[in-house]
């Protein structure tokens, strides 16, 4: 199953560019695709779709997915990476009205570029090719970084100190 998500923030902006193209790719590949399409008005014709999934159901979709295709949000990237799911990230663009403030998705994309099991796609026209490539190499999976180990240790330490007070 390919899980496509444009994020779960209900106050979030549309990301129809990704929804439309992944619907087309679903038709072209004949693959099982589930799209969490958010506020986008476009109703997919080929893919299964839902506006918003409850948090836990979304987590379940991440677990079941063979490939995750999403906007370049922290939650999407984090969930997929922690579960070791091959991941395609399409950064939202502020100039296209896909993001309200600045282009922080572009920046996050730049940081994740080149990691194993992660591909950054800026032009949705490239999605079909990259999806095919990723599906052909399921053994290439992302791994949590050493930065995460250090962050968790610091948070754990904070909580231990709070407990003693």
């Amino acid at each position: 199953m390919i899980f496509v998500t444009v994020g779960s923030a209900e106050e979030g902006l549309e990301f129809e560019r990704l929804v439309r193209e992944m619907d087309r790719v679903a038709g072209a590949l004949g693959a099982d695709v589930l799209i969490q399409r958010g506020t986008s008005a476009y109703e997919p014709a080929h893919a299964r779709h839902v506006r918003f999934l409850p948090f836990e159901e979304a987590m379940d979709c991440f677990r079941r997915a063979d490939l995750v295709v999403g906007h370049c949000g922290a939650g999407t990237a984090l969930n997929a990476i922690l579960l070791g799911k091959p991941l395609i990230l399409v950064p939202r663009r502020a100039d296209a009205g896909e993001l309200d403030t600045e282009d922080h998705q572009m920046e996050l994309a730049a940081c994740l570029k080149g990691r194993p099991g992660i591909r950054i796609v800026e032009d949705v026209g490239d999605l079909e090719r990259v999806v095919r490539e990723m599906l052909a190499r399921p053994e290439e999976r992302p791994e949590p970084s050493e930065r995460l180990v250090r962050l968790r240790a610091a948070v754990g330490d904070f909580l231990l100190r709070a407990e003693k007070k």
């Binding site: 922290a74 999407t76 948070v155």
Partner: protein, 160 residues
């Protein structure tokens, strides 16, 4: 075991704060106060004992709706803190952290950790600017942000 209050909006921020805790969530007594949108109602989370849905008013997209929601959240947080008596507060945003950290700062004075979102690479978020004064510690996930937050901030690492 510490009793920990996690404050978060739905979506990425919740994934961030739970991801930052990792297995520590199961080692402590955690409860979550989350912005109460439809997709988090009746949610159960691994390692989290209780979920409180914070009030959300009509048109949260508009500044007025946010303001009203946050103001109404203030007494709700007082009630939750009196009931739960947390030892610590942890949040990775978004704006729902502001009333929580304010109530804690004024009335309860427990250690409060704010984790700036991983999506902030160059400049603090609006929430971060507000919460910085109210938090006891701030973790940033990229070293460049240290200069904005001053002596309370540290860079221990990041989620991604």
């Amino acid at each position: 075991m510490a009793k920990v209050c996690l404050v978060s909006s739905a979506g990425g921020h919740l994934a961030e704060v739970l991801g930052a805790l990792g297995e520590a969530a199961g080692e402590h007594d955690c409860f979550v106060c989350v912005t109460g949108f439809e997709n988090v109602r009746r949610m159960r989370l691994t390692g989290v004992r209780r979920v409180y849905c914070m009030p959300v008013f009509w048109r949260y997209q508009e500044p007025f709706g946010v303001l009203v929601s946050l103001l109404v959240s203030l007494p709700v947080f007082v009630w939750i803190f009196l009931k739960e008596r947390p030892d610590a507060l942890v949040s990775a945003g978004a704006e729902i952290a502001i009333p929580a950290f304010l109530v804690n700062r004024l009335l309860f004075r427990k250690p409060a950790l704010y984790i700036e979102s991983i999506t902030r690479l160059h400049a603090p978020s609006a929430t971060g600017r507000w919460v910085a004064r109210l938090a006891t510690r701030i973790f940033v996930q990229w070293p460049r942000l240290l200069e904005f937050y001053g002596p309370k901030a540290e860079y221990p690492g990041g989620l991604l």
